[in-house]
Point group: C2
Chain length 469, copies 2
């Protein structure tokens, strides 16, 4: 038998390190290489934790519950109100920020710029220098949006007097919040705090917020899931591309706004502002995603990821079965296309709560339905479909409320399972804007990044110690 | 040598009739079948005409010119005006209809219903019976929209006092026209003529038209090609799916309308009407396509198709080098999905000027960019891409102003070459609504059909006799 083996031509399947396959191919052998790496990146502790969690009946049951609660959620836009009045527990001298906790000294440039702007906007300091001193003095409390069921793109700054979207889960109750989108260019969320930025914020507080509040009240609420579903059929993925969703929201708001007592001049300003911003829906998409994921949070033993968020320094995740714990790692850089005059050297690390969209199965996870986005983030339409297909390997199931026409109307891959991420070594894909590393410059590009595997490994290690079943 | 051939296994390539291949395969032979049929359907006269036209330098040069004029056209929405005041040559007792010429007696049910409605709307008769008598008496002139640079979906009815879109070609001059879209359900274009239909038409004439006219004037015009291009990146093909384009137009019109002196109550009505109709852009898409194709029309020796239109009885085409001639054949049926309660037996044959969109390289030709449309017309997203790919075989080139993300941002297949249609036997694909065969019932479904090859064969035969070069 051995003799026969050595006499026949070699037909080799190589698993793992490709260098073995390369040598065989160079020697003229017929070799099929299969990508493979050991689970948990060959980390012994994580491997043992994984072995404990995989196929564990209590975990399977908990994930089934968490995923079903996510699927059943019905995020409904219910109101627009002032942050400090509507967000439970938000203090009067508190500023919310994106990502996991971070103190003033450690914040990245754009986030510091945003906090200075928010302090000026609230009238707590007279100029930028005084605002910085105040921020450093400890007299202002900084806290993650996620600690208050809120989300904000980029710096994610929510200050007490800002108007916020209020989204209610019609299936389970519970509210989530997001600030309103300011548009592109010089904006607070990218750390700009010059007078024009504060003036716009003032108009948003005085005119835009109250007008939207009346329109939403006239509508009696806007069911956000069907709106997102429709936008996913119109080339949006509802993170980095919201052109269709913003248009759909605009079509809903306009006739309602015209039935309110808002003066026609204000109506014209409000509608021009919204019509001029194809990202207007982003913040509402995020609040809707937060709502769906809140429904799945705090199911003991569940390994479903319910938050992914970045503060520009650290990337943090939360997992359903691990409660309020954050699992963090250094925030990655974003690989993408830069606007003219900028390059990778200008970029801040990954920033913002907007990865809540990927956590909810849209954004980068639904990129296959948004082929036109590759003109903004780089790559080809085939890459976009590839990202979506890859995410099916690390998710608990399909969200049949969010079907993707280019993938034969398959539901989007949803419910990231931290076990599968660690087991397969496939990190969740995120497509996102890129902020300049300095405060106030603004967006310098857009692209693709991956959540750090380390966050998921930490989560798995902790979950293995918490298991109740 | 022959002995060797008979000893070896058969490896057969079969061209044409598949039955030969089937027998070989049944006998265990290895056979590759290639679809092929003789050019011009083995029609000797058409074959000779084709032979004269294919690779003819004058035809090649004429097609290059026609296609370049089509590509260079810049359709701009310039105004909304009353039909009889703005359409040159339109008589006071004239009704325009879709498709090639057809007289009252020969019209299909929905078109007769529409004409009766138009007569009532114009006040030329007091009731439906009197309107029918008037139509049959010869006192009303019926003429194709296309004879007046106009287009209309389904019955395509344009009566003298209706408001129409006015589109100007910014590159070559020349105007095209289309009526305004009434929405779905009971509407004139499907042959409904009950009081509610006429009342809506009255409101469109009294309020909608003048309001739109002011908004368009305030905007100083709307460049339609970039708007269509953007919609093609948002899942529209701008014939049977206009959800994105209607939204984009709505976003342009709204702020403008709010800057006019139109009373706020009318503004609210107008914007609610537009926001409630995802097909609102269709008629404008058609006028833009007509504009691009008018630019390519009347180039001697050109075999480029510049009109495809159906009156519910006949399908007619016009070809650039054959001037005002129509080449007609019986209108085909549409294969598609029917609304609940209806079936193929209820359907009228293919109807309307809306195939002008396919003639201009969008609609069915761009279906690959609109995968979600298959839920409306049937088939799979892969079929949709297949239709677009097939159309590259019968077109003069790619329209790089209309890129299709799912096809790697390739330009849409545009400029139907009548020679290629006849040579390859590939009929242009059209996706379209399906009207009930009786007046007034309305739309009963949507689906896919093909232009009859016979129209193209006739065109080729005529063009071969006209050749000047």
């Amino acid at each position: 038998m051995m003799n026969n083996l050595f006499r026949s031509n070699l037909n080799v399947i190589n698993v793992g390190l490709s260098s073995f396959a390369d040598s065989i191919a160079q020697a003229g052998g017929d070799v099929q290489h299969i990508d493979w790496s050991p689970p948990a990146g060959a980390d012994r502790e994580a491997g043992l934790a994984l072995a404990r969690l995989i196929n564990h009946p209590a975990v399977e049951e908990a994930n089934r519950q968490a995923f079903e609660r996510y699927l059943a959620a019905q995020p409904i836009l219910k109101a627009v109100e002032i942050a400090s009045r509507v967000i439970p527990g938000m203090g009067e001298r508190m500023l919310l920020h994106a990502g996991p906790p971070v103190e003033w000294d450690a914040m990245c440039g754009p986030m510091q710029g945003a906090m200075v702007g928010a302090i000026l906007f609230e009238g707590w300091a007279a100029d930028a220098e005084a605002a910085s001193r105040l921020a450093a003095s400890g007299a202002v409390t900084f806290a993650p949006c996620h600690h208050f069921d809120a989300v904000g793109p980029m710096s994610g700054v929510v200050s007490p007097s800002m108007p916020v979207w209020v989204v209610e889960d019609g299936a389970h109750g519970g509210r989530t919040f997001s600030n309103l989108n300011e548009g592109l260019g010089k904006v607070l969320r990218f750390g700009a705090n010059e007078p024009a930025v504060l003036e716009r914020l003032g108009w948003m507080r005085a005119v835009l917020g109250p007008a939207l509040a009346k329109a939403v009240q006239t509508l009696g609420g806007v069911d956000l899931k069907p709106l997102i579903a429709q936008a996913l059929h119109m080339g949006d993925e509802c993170h980095n591309r919201n052109a269709a969703a913003s248009g759909l929201l605009f079509k809903r708001l306009t006739p309602a706004l015209l039935r309110t007592d808002v003066p026609q001049a204000d109506v014209a300003d409000v509608l021009s502002f919204i019509a001029g911003n194809d990202h207007f829906f982003l913040n509402l998409s995020m609040a809707a995603c937060k709502s769906m994921l809140n429904a799945a949070h705090n199911v003991p033993d569940s390994t479903m990821v319910t938050v992914m968020a970045r503060n520009g320094v650290e990337f943090g995740i939360r997992v359903s079965g691990a409660g309020d714990r954050w699992f963090t790692a250094p925030a990655p850089m974003v690989d993408g296309l830069f606007f003219p005059g900028y390059s990778a050297e200008d970029a801040a690390p990954d920033l913002g709560d907007s990865a809540i969209t990927e956590t909810a199965g849209i954004g980068g996870f639904a990129m296959g339905t948004a082929p036109a986005i590759v003109q903004f983030v780089g790559g080809t339409p085939q890459d976009a479909i590839g990202y979506t297909r890859e995410m099916y390997h690390i998710t608990l199931g399909l969200n049949s409320a969010f079907t993707l026409p280019p993938l034969g109307f398959a539901g989007s891959p949803a419910g990231i399972d931290a076990r599968k991420v660690v087991d397969a070594g496939i990190a969740p894909v995120i497509n996102t804007g890129i902020a300049h590393r300095q405060a106030g410059v603004g967006q310098v590009g857009a692209g693709i990044t991956r959540a750090p595997l380390e966050c998921f490994t930490q989560a798995i290690n902790t979950l293995a110690t918490l298991i109740t079943g």
